[in-house]
Symmetry: C2
Subunit: 349 residues, 2 copies
DNA sequence: TTGTAGGCGTTATCAT
DNA sequence: ATGATAACGCCTACAA
């Protein structure tokens, strides 16, 4: 036996416990599962518990799953774990699932969509009680369909498309909060940098932004521009803005990561934030403090988003039917003012 | 049936396939598993395959695991997924495991250590073929012991403590690369900001730094200071440095996240980077480009680290014994020069 | 109050 | 070349 092949404890079965406690497996099973319908002598119960402890017995989850034909694993399909926002959602999902006694099987949406062998291994029969899909704005409709054909599924921050319930952030409110902050500072030339064209998340935030601007007389710089969710997209958007005939005095960026790129470009061309232009982004994370300028953000309840999605699925698994989904309005979007926003120069005395 | 309770495809069993193809389950099983030892008529084989396809048969992984008494799931215990470096390691692990046909069960080391119920549910008998532990520098020795008592385990970037093999980065080389870059620029007052005291990772990088400095005449600013792995730790370290009697002209920070905090403090007190002080950090990630100054980094093969750890475990599972672990020297640490490093002022003409 | 036995879906052994 | 059967470990009617 090599050094790496150490002795591992044997795996005692229920039968071992039963025979050591001089009872049948029935009694052992019932006692260890606290079956309320069983009435055993206290002495017997203790013998069983004692035997289990001495043997270091733990039930075999595979056998149990097979017998009860249900699993205690929940699949989580995510895209882009490199985004700090997504890891927060993941924590929320995992926390809520763990509370309910489920473990979490993680998969990447791109890989699942790309290699059918991975998808089928992930969805292998009997493995998953349900699946939570956080797949962003891609062309994942067939993936969602494939998955939900096999097991109960819920979506995170996506169009529920009627078929699968979805947990959603209040994007409209977030967009409005960001824009209203700038308007309150006196800005009228407020640009909007969105995510990829057609993204429902981006669209919601844009709508909030437009709601807010409806109340004021917009300046010529109040333009809308589609970008994407990466920092590079933000760089491109910033360059596009710099080429606009009328420069905005403030920018709402639909995403923190995108905003990183916007800020970097502004700095590199000598546009001062917030002196020349104010920037506010949607989503908060630790890194917001450490960008070229500490960034003012609108914090959204990402952890709760994960929890809510998990809750939706757990309801379905408990036969309660998750309904059409949930829009998370509590806690509401929270403005975190740092150093990237200020009154426009023109209005300063 | 409510809207959310949609019709799900039934789950045909091997028996269904067998009866539809008019063969025994034995044959069906062997054909579908491409058992080379079976010699059936081509016509029969086709009948089985056809029947399986028509029924949409997929094997039940739970039943299979039970029968073969081994699982195709690998547990990944991680700490601090908020760190962009760790998600890269995760991708590497998952990629390698998936190639080998394993799925990945994710758990958080803090939660596993804190709640024994979570640990036992995670380690539930039969569930996991093996576990990969990436638990950082905490007091997780008992966790590691608990886990490795149950299933084969490997460590990521940790002291293997002789018991469990570990995949390690070449920290010494990384520290040396960072310091040599600064020395080549003409710096002699090079400070080092490390991780938490006693961290083996930090110690390795520090050793590399000291190796590099050994060749030159060190200035008074060449101090060593322990911090931690968070941005806040970096802020504290920067403040400590600013209070030193002799200021360094350059700083090696043992971690990208820590460096974010260092840069922010330097900026807030008006110390210009790289004009007044150069900064280089170990580890690269997308955000390095977007900090207060685009940060010069030493990129380490994090994806490969994950792959290697997974490979170690897979070897063990295949009976090949992972040995004492692996030090990843290929690819070597790679310097990525951005804008945070330059020659010291004194040596400029 | 306790025990017997069947079966969850699969694979492996041993016959035919 | 193909099939019957047992067994993986557990839970749960049903029986006693």
């Amino acid at each position: 036996m090599s050094a790496a092949t150490k002795k591992r404890e044997a795996n005692p079965t229920l039968r071992d416990v039963a025979s050591r406690a001089d009872v049948s497996t029935t009694i052992a099973s019932r006692v260890l599962n606290d079956d309320p319908a069983v009435r055993v002598r206290e002495e017997t119960r203790q013998r069983v518990i004692e035997a289990a402890k001495e043997l270091g017995y733990a039930p075999n989850s595979i056998a149990r799953s097979l017998r009860k034909s249900r699993s205690d694993a929940i699949g989580l399909v995510m895209h882009n774990l490199a985004s700090p926002m997504n890891t927060t959602v993941l924590e929320g999902v995992r926390g809520r699932c763990a509370e309910a006694g489920y473990v979490t099987l993680l998969a990447d949406s791109e890989q699942l969509a790309a290699e059918s062998s991975r998808l089928s291994s992930f969805l292998a029969r009997g493995r998953l009680a349900g699946v939570i899909l956080h797949v962003g704005h891609g062309h994942h409709d067939t993936l969602i369909e494939d998955v939900s054909r096999h097991v109960p599924a819920v979506l995170v921050n996506a169009d529920s498309s009627g078929l699968v319930p979805s947990a959603r952030l209040d994007d409209v409110s977030a967009g409005r909060t960001a824009a209203e902050h700038l308007i309150a500072l006196g800005h009228t030339d407020v640009a909007f940098v969105g995510g990829p064209e057609g993204s429902i998340t981006s669209l919601g935030r844009q709508r909030g932004y437009e709601d807010a601007l409806r109340g004021i007389e917009r300046g010529a710089g109040a333009q809308m521009i589609n970008a994407g969710w990466t920092a590079e997209h933000g760089e491109a958007a910033a360059n596009a803005i710099l080429n606009m005939p009328a420069l905005p005095t403030a920018i709402v960026v639909a995403n923190l990561v995108t905003a990183s790129g916007v800020l970097a470009v502004l700095r590199s061309v000598g546009v001062r934030v917030p002196h020349d232009v104010s920037v506010v982004a949607i989503h908060d994370a630790w890194l917001a403090k450490y960008l070229t300028v500490p960034l003012t953000t609108v914090q959204l309840p990402l952890f709760e988003l994960g929890e809510t999605a998990a809750g939706l699925l757990l309801d379905i698994l408990a036969g309660k039917s998750g309904g059409q989904g949930a829009l998370i309005t509590d806690p509401p979007p929270r403005l975190i003012v740092r150093e990237s926003t200020a009154a426009p120069r023109a209005s300063r005395t």
